[in-house]
């Protein structure tokens, strides 16, 4: 029996509980994600998709309900570094070279210097930035910075990758390029991915399952399985792709997006 990558059971999150500015961000969320899935959370602003991701990451506590990650509590999974995370802002450290940015989590885990260097080199090749290890982040374009952030999140080969609108700030062309890169990495590394986005085509293109959420309070409205097989440059013109996009759009219209 394989353990579920993520199991959220009856999870609710209320911000500012008991105060006048109390906000119910999430209500009774049940979600199971199996290992190897690529699940996208999509929905209008205020639907709590980023909050759900932060709960899974144990960056904030649940108000009620429970979340397990790899069969442990979310808190324990964070302490064990079971997941890597990437944010909308690449969040690279300007004072570190690109290679040293990728090595940061490895340093915190106490890896030896030689092992760190070998791994950062491997990760740089993975995101096709092999020649940029000694550059500083300020010298890189936005798309390159985001690829470094992905390399950093994957550097210790976590079984789970959590991504909060990581491509939101990129232009369309760069965005499609890094999407393909992410898919290639996902296929090569057996990682489970939970991905938050605003973009319907992005959600459909990337995921095996799209979770549509509704706002006030944040709830899961529908889940749509996407079965497009291996993606390539023709996928975006595929009738199946357009059908899935339409299906997600309809679901979003129902929730008032």
């Amino acid at each position: 029996m394989t353990t579920e990558a993520i199991r959220a059971t009856d999870v609710s999150k209320v911000f500012n509980l008991g105060k006048t500015n109390q906000v119910a961000a999430l209500l009774n969320i049940d979600l199971v994600i199996e290992p190897g899935e690529f699940v996208t959370l999509i929905g209008p602003s205020g639907c709590g998709k980023s909050t759900l991701l932060r709960l899974i990451a144990s960056l904030i506590p649940t108000t009620s309900g429970s979340i397990s990650v790899n069969g442990k509590t979310a808190e324990q999974a964070r302490l064990d570094q079971d997941y890597g995370m990437a944010f909308q802002k690449a969040g690279l450290f300007d004072w570190r070279t690109v290679a040293k940015n990728i090595e940061l989590p490895l340093e915190l885990m106490g890896w030896k210097s030689s092992e760190r260097k070998a791994r950062s080199k491997e990760m740089l090749d993975l995101v096709q930035l092999g020649d940029f290890g000694n550059h500083h982040p300020a010298e890189l374009s936005g798309g390159m910075q985001q690829r470094v952030a992905i390399a950093r999140a994957l550097s210790f080969k976590p079984s789970l990758l959590l991504m909060d609108e990581p491509f939101g700030a990129l232009d369309e062309m760069t965005r499609e390029h890094v999407q393909d890169e992410l898919l290639r990495i996902w296929q090569d590394t057996d990682t489970t991915v939970v991905f938050v986005t605003h973009s319907v085509p992005e959600a459909v293109y990337l995921s095996t399952r799209v979770v549509v959420m509704s706002p006030r309070p944040g709830q899961i409205s529908t889940m749509i399985d996407v079965d497009l097989g291996g993606r390539n440059q023709f996928t975006r013109d595929d009738p199946g792709f357009h059908q899935a996009v339409t299906e997600v759009r309809k679901a979003l219209r129902v929730v008032g997006a």
Partner: protein, 258 residues
């Protein structure tokens, strides 16, 4: 950071030009050089009193450097504590603001009585206090500017608060810290010399200035001021060098601004 002749020669030409103008206008306006001595007299005085000036520069320089080092160390330690502990922040910050409002230099005569009229200790303490606030306030600000997504990222790695401070907050605070260090290095010289007017060793720069001015030997007074300026300039450029060594990655350093 390359040193180009054109860049170095522009301020040199400007400086020499100002000195020549100064010298020339005094020839016409005030031939006796009573109020403002010409640069040639001041340089002459530096030559005549070289050994006394050298001794004075070392004594005052020690007050400046020791006060600067201690003041900056206290300021950095205090800003780390205040950043780390909310209680410290709430307890200490209003107090700091109040203490900062004290005209510190006015304490010099009082401190002289406390620590002995001829001891340099009171002058060092004036420098420490004077240096403390700009460094403290800027470093606290700098530490608080750390990017929230970078801190969140460190939390996903289950990093300790101290590690987050070391990896994120301290590097973020560096530009503001070094700016304040440059301000503090000039303040330290001003503080030391003015404090010396009221006491401390009598062969330091401060007393040299008051004594020479009292005897209307203005060229000698200006010579001591010139030496103080040189001490301050050296310190300023040491601060710039430290900044460049500490944060070669920063935009301002890469563009070579001071």
């Amino acid at each position: 950071m390359r040193f180009r002749f054109a860049e170095a020669s522009a301020p040199l030409v400007a400086g020499v030009g100002i000195l020549l103008l100064w010298e020339g206008s005094l020839w016409i306006l005030s031939p006796d050089g009573f109020v403002l001595p010409p640069p040639s007299d001041i340089l002459g005085s530096v030559g005549e009193n070289a050994s006394e000036l050298w001794t004075a520069a070392r004594i005052t320089g020690w007050v400046v450097v020791s006060g600067l080092v201690v003041g900056v160390a206290f300021a950095v330690a205090a800003s780390l504590l205040v950043n780390r502990f909310r209680l410290a922040r709430e307890a200490v910050t209003p107090l700091m603001v109040a203490v900062n409002a004290i005209p510190i230099i006015a304490l010099a005569p009082i401190f002289n009585n406390w620590f002995g009229l001829t001891s340099p200790r009171s002058n060092q303490i004036i420098v420490v206090l004077l240096v403390f606030f700009p460094v403290f306030i800027n470093t606290v600000k700098g530490l608080s500017l750390a990017d929230s997504s970078q801190i969140e990222l460190m939390e996903t790695y289950a990093a300790s608060q101290w590690r987050i401070t070391r990896e994120v907050r301290i590097p973020t605070a560096m530009p503001l810290f070094f700016t304040s260090l440059k301000v503090a290095s000039s303040l330290a010289v001003i503080g030391a010399i003015v404090a010396e007017y009221f006491g401390g060793r009598q062969d330091a720069l401060g007393p040299m200035i008051t004594q020479a001015a009292g005897l209307t030997r203005y060229a000698d007074a200006w010579a001591a001021v010139l030496v103080g300026t040189i001490v301050g300039t050296i310190l300023y450029f040491l601060a710039v060098a430290a900044e460049r060594a500490a944060m070669p990655w920063h935009d301002s350093v890469r563009r070579g601004s001071i």
